[in-house]
Amino acid sequence: MSPRLMKALINGLLIGGTVVALFPLLWMLSVSFMAPGEASALPPPLLPKHPGWANYRELFVRAGMGRYLLNSVLVAGAITALSLVLNLMAGYAFAKLRFAGRERLFQALLGALVIPAQVAMLPLFLLLKYVGLVNSYAGVVAPAMATVFGIFLVRQYARGIPDELLEAARIDGAGEWRIFVQIVLPLLKPIIVTLAIFSFLAAWNDFMWPLIVLTGQEHYTLPIGLASLAREHAQDSELMMAGSVVTVLPVLLLFLSLQRYYLQGLLLGSVKG
């Protein structure tokens, strides 16, 4: 095969793949601006005849989507902030602080990764029920406040901090907390951004646990609200597409603006060592 033909083939396939990957998302955006019923036609219309915000108005005014959006922002924001603090502290301790049984404890945590999270969900529900946290924001946030993956990620990165730097600060009389906040955290900035995006995306996109623990509509996050809307309004394609846009757009934009950090973290997290 000639190099020119090869080049055309490779780039053609990449363009084809890109169309397949993006078409559903672009069409979702287009249909969300159509008038009710417009999308149920043959051939399926690609662009709205008279684009309008009617579906979005319907979603926010009548279907309570504003509340779900607010809930998602609150829950994902709280999970991101709290898990950052806890995972950074623990990851740093595993990387740089000395205590007996450090390696064994860390190995045990990594070992726990083979247990699927769903195994814990039934007793966790009972536990939260007895302490009165079912159907509350805290019920969604609490179990996500620390993750083995997050601790692992921080540890991998923090091992690169030179010990001499920390020892010098100790000799100067700085306390452990002060060293962590004033020396370590600034050095960890790239991994903090990475971990923040990971946590936020995971929390925003999480479905099964919020579905279990949130029983009342007033606490629904976007995925749960959208799933329940989809069961009621199965035929209103335009409305559902608008709902999907509201759910997907924030995370897509976040990824697009910070993708360098996200992809970097994905690679750091996928190489064990």
């Binding site: 080049k7 490779i10 780039n11 396939l13 990449l14 793949g17 397949v20 993006l22 559903p24 998302l25 069409w27 149920s40 399926p44 603090v85 806890l86 502290m89 301790a93 000395r98 205590f99 007996a100 083979v114 247990i115 699927p116 769903q118 195994v119 814990a120 969900m121 039934l122 529900f125 009972l126 179990p143 620390a146 920390l166 100790r170 452990e176 962590f180 925003w204 996109n205 479905f207 099964m208 279990i212 976007l222 995925p223 959208l226 799933a227 989809a230 394609s237 597409m241 999907s244 759910t247 997907v248 897509l252 990824f255 697009l256 996200y262 992809l263 994905l266 690679l267 996928s270 064990k272």
Partner: protein
């Protein structure tokens, strides 16, 4: 010198959270699975009885459990190779020196990974609508009769598999891409001088060098695909004729629809055991084809 005491203070918050909200519940699940915890026990704990392996015994005699297991195995057996094949194919294309605009393509191909399953499942349900869906319209142009994608028991699972592959392949693509970039270019250089064709280079350099990446990606993908839940929940509600009831779907229904928490815990544990066994098997099989010195056969 830092003291062990301060180290434990740094560790304590995360360890407490993981202990209370993960390890303790996992142990709880083991105990729960040995009891008949149901709606009555939920109302009054005194109704709780210890029944040993009763839940497990009963599940193994329930046709629905076996069919849920079968559907999940189908999803894993077909979905994982397809997904990994798509990932590797896309990574090879992106890694080619002939490819243009790589960052742009990479971002576009990765985009589905960060989307919310529920939202994109809703989109796919519309694309695969029997009457007005784009999929049937395009097939119609080729003269193929409309398929009842999500309403026909034979087609529902394949449609969900297509959806899952579309949604997930970008994740492994990035990992494969990094693996490909780590292969020393002089290996290919030497092969070219020896006159090896592109296919032989792929077969004898790329694949063996990529083996560790392949194993890791394989294990992650298999365990991810065993956890099938949101897709059938949104797209088919387990139907038609329960053809898309996965093991986790069964666990959810059993636990949170019928409140048989004991039996649902047994389902969760059986899934865990199965995933563990498959992972161990994969590691064993991948080691078998190797020389004792660890090099490729």
């Amino acid at each position: 010198m830092n003291s062990p005491r301060s180290a434990w203070l740094f560790l304590a918050p995360a360890l407490v959270v993981l202990g209370v909200f993960f390890l303790l519940p996992v142990l709880g699940a083991l105990i729960l699975s040995l009891t008949d915890y149901d709606l009555y026990a939920l109302a009054d704990i005194r109704n709780l009885r210890f029944i040993g392996l009763g839940n497990y015994w009963e599940l193994l005699h329930r046709p629905l459990f076996w069919s849920a297991l079968g559907h999940t195995a189908y999803f894993v057996a077909v979905g994982v190779p397809l997904s990994m094949g798509a990932s590797l194919g896309a990574a090879l294309l992106l890694n080619s020196p002939l490819a243009r605009c790589k960052p742009l393509f990479r971002t576009a191909l990765f985009a589905p990974v960060v989307t919310t399953v529920v939202a994109v499942a809703v989109i796919w349900r519309y694309l695969f609508n029997t009457k007005y869906g784009m999929a049937n319209y395009l097939l119609g142009l080729l003269g193929i009769h409309p398929v009842d994608w999500l309403g026909d028991p034979h087609w529902a699972m394949p449609t969900i598999i297509l959806f899952a592959v579309w949604k997930n392949f970008g994740y492994n693509m990035i990992i494969f891409l990094a693996g490909l970039q780590a292969i020393p270019p002089d290996l290919y250089e030497a092969a070219r001088i020896d006159g090896a064709s592109a296919w032989r280079q792929f077969r004898h350099i790329t694949l063996p060098m990529l083996k560790p990446t392949m194993l890791m990606v394989g294990i992650l993908t298999v365990s991810g695909y065993f956890q099938l839940f949101a897709e059938p929940y949104v797209m088919t509600e387990g139907g038609p004729l329960q053809s898309t009831v996965s093991v986790l779907y069964l666990m959810y229904d059993e636990g949170f629809k019928w409140w048989n928490l004991g039996s649902a815990s047994a389902v969760a544990f059986l899934l865990f055991l199965l995933m563990f066994a498959v992972t161990v098997l994969m590691v064993k099989l991948s080691r078998r084809g190797e020389h004792p010195d660890g090099g490729p056969a």
